[in-house]
């Protein structure tokens, strides 16, 4: 029996270990190693901190990094502000008859490729776009304006892309909020804001936190939306990584950038989990 069990364990363990070590662990060790290698003037590879020093010495690099981080926080916050009333409406306000339908409607667009969604926004917003067309027709504008390639458009696109990951966890925590708590607070004379800050948000905080972690991480690592909606001015850190890898062919510098982004994203996830005293296992479920 025990040898049988051993065999079964090995049968399941082998592919999983192979997957995790060959596709995840070793590549990331390689990433770390590459980021400490530097080509000196004689064209030889040597150990060095130069790639990281370059990051701190060139303002364009670290400014882009900080900018990406700050905008990712902003996007996360905006997504939360938009998602909370929506999740509340679906779970608590709307007639339960329509609840399922609204949820399906809410999820449907996110099955469609991000590229298609971003493309839709480009058609709407650009100079020859649909919104400009209507504004000109209505006489509100005399000249078409370019609405793409601005920071605000990029933020809009990023919020749009990540909405789902905020709405779904908040809907699921609000579902478990007992209505009688809100009713009791109301009967005792609490107003809307008190109820919001004393009951709804505290109860929903695990969902809010897991939504925020996912949204932040996805926004930080997004390439498509900043690149297409922000254009040349987007200055997103993933674009720096791409440029180092594909355009400059400086893989060592790119690895250092990649590792820095990975560290930032891991720290934020870790902090988020620590602050709410949750573990990763719970959040992903």
């Amino acid at each position: 029996m025990t040898s049988h069990k051993r065999w079964g364990l090995f049968f399941f363990l082998a592919p999983v270990v192979l997957w995790l070590f060959v596709m995840i662990v070793l590549p990331h060790i390689d990433l770390l190693v590459m980021s400490f290698r530097f080509e000196n003037d004689e064209g030889q590879m040597q150990w060095s901190l130069n790639n990281y020093l370059a990051f701190f010495e060139e303002p364009i690099y670290w400014l882009t990094f900080v900018r990406t981080a700050i905008y990712s926080i902003l996007v996360t916050f905006l997504t939360f502000v938009i998602a909370l009333p929506l999740a509340f409406y679906i779970t608590k306000v709307v007639n339960p008859k329509y609840q399922g339908f609204l949820l399906v409607l809410l999820l449907l667009p996110f099955w469609v490729s991000e590229l298609v969604r971003v493309y839709g926004w480009m058609i709407l917003l650009r100079e020859s776009g649909v919104i400009n067309h209507f504004l000109l027709k209505a006489g509100i504008l005399r000249q078409p304006i370019e609405m793409l390639y601005r920071d605000s458009t990029m933020i809009l696109g990023l919020v749009y892309t990540s909405m789902l990951f905020m709405v779904v966890p908040i809907v699921s925590v609000l579902d478990s909020l007992d209505n009688s708590l809100i009713e009791a607070a109301y009967d005792l004379g609490a107003n809307m804001w008190t109820i919001l800050f004393k009951i709804i948000i505290p109860h929903a905080s695990p969902g809010i936190m897991s939504g925020s972690i996912v949204v932040f991480m996805l926004t930080l690592g997004n390439y498509l939306t900043p690149n297409l909606m922000g254009g040349k001015n987007s200055l997103w850190f993933t674009e720096q990584i791409y440029n180092q890898f594909i355009a400059s062919f400086n893989w060592n510098q790119g690895s250092a950038f990649g590792f820095l982004l990975l560290v930032l994203s891991s720290i934020v996830v870790w902090l988020g989990l620590k602050l709410t005293r949750q573990n990763l296992k719970k959040v992903v479920q």
Partner: protein, 285 residues
């Protein structure tokens, strides 16, 4: 406030307006993309010049519809093949991982479990570059040590498959694990007592029970692979997948053919999403 409490008319109206506005925000880019696929104009923009199917069917010198656009058709075929192999590989390894973490006990289980979750918090871009680096390191090593040129280690079809598999397998593991947790293990014990061996039990009983989860996870895996951009961007060779190919076209200006492809994608994924939902509902009831 909520359904059971009296609320003012203005409050209700404002809330409704908010939700309606949100849904307009959600669907506007997709609807506009779809509508402009049928506009008889050389550019995907208004004014409306009449209904046409030419962006799907035409094969004229100045207008080639998607059904005759060889480059785009090729990339759709590449994406289908990639998605097929990614789904297959992720289902096999993900199911092994689900069995491993739900039914087996071994040392370092907790550590391996967290490693399995890691791909969820690694940005796709980072996963792409580290796999690119590692495969390049392996390729160089093989060539220098044994003078063997391994096709697999160069950016191309199989590297894309492996790269996408590395994180999609995690999602499959989570979905299958959730179902496996509900499995009544006395059924297995009964079969074992009746003389079946472990493999027979898994094949005839447990996998049967898991079938809805496997179908659901397979559908999600297929779609995620089909639409993946971030990881694929760094691993793609001369065979571009559909998202990469579309990205290049959107970046360099666009024609209504992209709208036609988007239309097909939106319809296709919506159908798949609704089917998936229908089956998961049926499974629950």
């Amino acid at each position: 406030m909520i359904r059971t409490l009296p609320t003012s008319k203005t409050y209700n109206r404002c809330f409704k307006l908010y939700v309606v506005l949100y849904f307009i925000f959600l669907f506007a880019p997709l609807l506009v993309t779809c509508i402009l696929a049928f506009n008889d104009s050389q550019f995907p923009s208004l004014p409306w010049k009449g209904f046409t199917l030419e962006w799907f069917t035409a094969n004229l010198p100045e207008r080639v519809g998607i059904f005759h656009d060889q480059i785009n058709l090729d990339s759709i075929w590449v994406s289908f093949r990639v998605a097929f192999f990614v789904t297959l590989l992720s289902l096999v390894v993900g199911t092994c991982a689900a069995f491993l973490f739900e039914q087996e006990a071994f040392r370092f289980k907790q550590g391996l479990y967290f490693l399995m979750l890691a791909p969820l918090v690694i940005p796709g871009v980072i996963l792409g570059i580290s796999i690119l680096l590692f495969s390049n390191t392996l390729g160089t090593h093989f060539e220098e040590s044994w003078n063997i040129d391994v096709e697999l280690f160069r950016p191309g079809f199989w590297l894309v498959v492996l790269g996408q598999f590395s994180f999609i397998a995690t999602l499959v593991t989570l979905v299958v694990s959730a179902r496996l947790r509900k499995f009544d293990r006395t059924l297995e014990e009964a079969a074992l007592n009746l003389g079946a061996n472990r493999l027979e039990v898994i094949w005839h009983i447990t996998l049967k029970f898991l079938r809805p989860a496997l179908i659901g996870a397979g559908a999600v895996a297929f779609l995620m692979s089909f639409e993946n951009f971030n990881t694929t961007l760094f691993l793609v060779g001369y065979e571009a997948t559909l998202p990469i190919n579309l990205y290049l076209q959107v970046r360099d200006g666009s024609t209504p053919v992209i709208n036609a492809i988007s239309f097909l994608l939106i319809v296709g994924t919506s159908l798949l999403a609704l089917l998936n939902l229908y089956f998961s509902r049926k499974d629950q009831s």
